[in-house]
């Protein structure tokens, strides 16, 4: 029998177009996702060198970063408008399929790839966006690239990549009631730091991962980049296959069954080894809240901000607390928020919205809080409306918006004002991320929903829920 291999090695070997001593491998790209922010200079580069898009059929574009989430017909910012018009023009000129902001397939690029079935196990997927790691949930090698690489992939459908090291993040046991995939990934990053994954592709393994739905797996893989890893993935299993069955871009009938067999065979072999293994016990994990200015600065909701005397990185902690307007050793539940954002490529899928809705149903958003929900795609929005979730949110006092990246990074009008404090289901709590001077606390959808009602962080494990 051949040597046991990880899924990372199996997929990598299949994609090598050219290898040469002393050089990275030239890897074929099966799916190239494009959005308006990181592509204009790449298309311009093609134009200047008189090059074409090699495989428009393996390329798919949408608008997500800049799009307004209400009153879509009037884009106030002329530069945003210009950027979206540039994408439209580029896609037309180079023959790339585009779901523009009025198209029923529009949404955050990492939400629509899976929902259309474009994302599949064993594919190499790139996008000029660091959260491309999301697609790894399906057992794809998916990673973010810069604009020069976007141009390279457009022109050649390949990319030069050194074979990455492998990192196994093993999660044994079972998550407690009220503890979510978001809490798990935040806890992992808090435990091992924001550069634990530098130079590696992560594979998430263990019982707790196996039990997760595809949506939860996407939340985990999405934040791989926050741990420093360009890509994070999960071996495909029956959950993966069932999610993809019937999706528009996967084959039907027998052809699907054959493909599913191939997908399942990609899973990491028993006894395969990794360059590094880190583990965490699921039962140890509580609902998390970040207190600082990078995603590794997080703690359980039942605890407090750090005490500077107790930490090694004193200067970093001091600067972060100062920016966040927090005291040291301050209980997390004492922190009051004035904004709540439920959305982003991390947590904007149907089940995220359902879980948040189960917390707020029959309650009211605190007067001092502005709360918005931004579904990840038009489709998610439609499905949520079919289930009446929009009414639950609106009755509670949430704004119900159209799909886009929105307040995760505030490139459109959805901004947290200077000094504002936001409980956010997004992925980055960097300084100014949600608006200049804005303070971001990363949490799960349930934790964000409860913070909207109470006006401060609470432990959702002890919080009343209503079945949806």
């Amino acid at each position: 029998m051949s040597e046991p291999k990880t899924i990372i090695e199996k997929v990598w070997e299949q994609k090598i177009v050219h290898e040469e001593e002393g050089k990275p491998d030239l890897i074929y790209i099966d799916l190239h996702l494009v959005h308006e922010v990181t592509s204009p200079q790449a298309f311009e580069g093609l134009r200047m060198t008189n090059r074409q898009v090699r495989r428009p059929d393996l390329t798919f574009a949408t608008m997500d970063h800049n799009v307004p989430t209400k009153d879509r017909d009037t884009i106030k910012d002329p530069i945003s408008k210009k950027q979206m018009e540039a994408l439209e023009k580029n896609c037309k000129e180079f023959g790339v399929p585009l779901a523009d902001m009025f198209h029923p397939d529009q949404g955050i690029v990492h939400v629509i790839g899976p929902q259309l079935g474009l994302t599949q196990p064993g594919k190499t997927i790139v996008c000029g966006d660091s959260h491309t790691s999301t697609h790894g949930a399906f057992g794809a090698i998916a990673f973010g690239i810069g604009t020069s690489e976007v141009e390279h992939v457009l022109a050649t459908q390949t990319i030069w990549q050194a074979k990455p090291k492998t990192l196994n993040v093993r999660v044994d046991g079972e998550l407690g009631q009220g503890v979510t995939a978001k809490d798990l990934i935040l806890a992992v990053i808090a435990k091992y730091g924001v550069r634990m994954g530098n130079g590696h592709i992560i594979e998430y393994t263990g019982d707790a991962i196996r039990k997760m739905s595809m949506e939860e797996r996407m939340t985990i893989c999405n934040m791989s980049i926050e741990a420093g890893a360009r890509a994070g993935l999960i071996s495909p299993d029956e959950t993966t296959v069932e999610f993809l069955r019937g999706k528009r871009h996967v084959p039907k009938g027998e052809e699907f069954d054959e493909l599913a067999e191939e997908w399942l065979a990609l899973a990491t072999d028993e006894g395969a080894t990794y360059d590094k293994t880190l583990s965490i016990q699921a039962e140890e994990i509580e609902p998390q809240v970040t207190w600082g200015t990078n995603p590794g600065m997080g703690v359980p909701v039942s605890s407090s901000t750090p005490t500077i005397a107790d930490v090694d990185n004193k200067e970093e902690v001091k600067l972060a607390l100062e920016y966040m307007g927090l005291e040291e050793a301050q209980p997390m539940t004492s922190i009051e928020v004035d904004h709540v954002f439920i959305g982003s490529c991390t947590n904007s899928r149907l089940n995220d919205l359902k879980k948040a809705a189960s917390i707020i149903k029959g309650k009211k958003v605190k007067d001092s809080v502005r709360a918005i929900v931004v579904p990840g795609s038009f489709l998610v929005k439609m499905q949520a409306e079919e289930e009446g979730l929009d009414e639950v949110f609106k009755e509670a006092g949430f704004e119900w918006r159209d799909a886009g990246c929105s307040m995760c990074l505030g490139m459109n009008d959805d901004i947290v004002p200077p000094g504002g404090r936001c409980a956010s289901t997004s992925n980055r709590n960097f300084e100014g991320r949600q608006g200049n001077g804005a303070r971001t606390h990363l949490v799960s959808p349930e934790m964000a929903a409860a913070a909207a009602i109470e006006g401060h962080f609470v432990d959702v494990r002890n919080y009343e829920k209503t079945a949806i």
Binding site: H18, D77, I79, G146, H152, T156, E431
Partner: protein, 194 residues
């Protein structure tokens, strides 16, 4: 991109770890569709207050660093987003070389693609240079051919960067043109594997 074989320059010290791409170039400046002109937005909210005035508390605003072309920083420089606007803004501001104990993966790649050279150097040496550069008079000589950095006081260290990137930046090669020499292999792959 402009080829770079050797570079001597004044050092600017940024004594922070985990400097993320959102600080390097805030999101409101990502809407432009050009590659140039991003230098004035570099570290925007650290350099300028809400009224657009320079913050005197931020050391890059100190005139003694006006001619700096080598940026030295703490661990994990460039973490976060894949925005290539980050290296574009650093280059456009006037830096050619970055030195830190480590860099985030995507940022590291993006830098080389533009002829901005990120060099990983061990933490003790970085800390020594961070401190020395405080006086605004530390110059380093970075030689990509010999893979050595020397400072004014005679300290000399060796460094390593991936050979592929080294050749590309030293020759100012167009990545895509090189790959297209392999177009036949790509076609063969497509025939046999897709």
């Amino acid at each position: 991109m402009e080829a770079i074989k050797q570079h001597k320059g004044l050092v600017y010290p940024m004594n922070r770890t985990n400097v993320d791409t959102d600080q390097i170039i805030p999101k409101q400046f990502l809407k432009r569709i050009e590659r140039t002109g991003f230098g004035r937005f570099l570290f925007y909210h650290w350099r300028f207050d809400d009224d657009g005035n320079k913050r005197s508390s931020f050391n890059l605003n100190d005139p003694k660093y006006d001619d700096a072309s080598i940026l030295i920083a703490g661990d994990n420089f460039g973490c976060g987003s894949s925005r290539e606007h980050a290296p574009w803004s650093i280059l456009d501001y006037g830096f050619r070389v970055l030195i830190a104990p480590s860099f985030a993966d995507i940022f590291y790649n993006n830098s080389f693609k533009n002829g901005l050279v990120p060099i990983a150097v061990d933490e003790a040496q970085v800390n020594e240079w961070l401190e020395k550069a405080e006086n605004g008079n530390l110059h380093l000589n970075v030689d990509l051919e010999t893979k050595k950095i020397t400072d004014d006081s005679g300290v000399e260290i060796s460094f390593d960067i991936p050979e592929y990137h080294r050749q590309n930046v030293m020759n100012g090669w167009d990545d895509i043109a090189l790959t297209l020499q392999l177009a036949e292999k790509i076609s063969e792959y497509e025939k046999s594997s897709l």
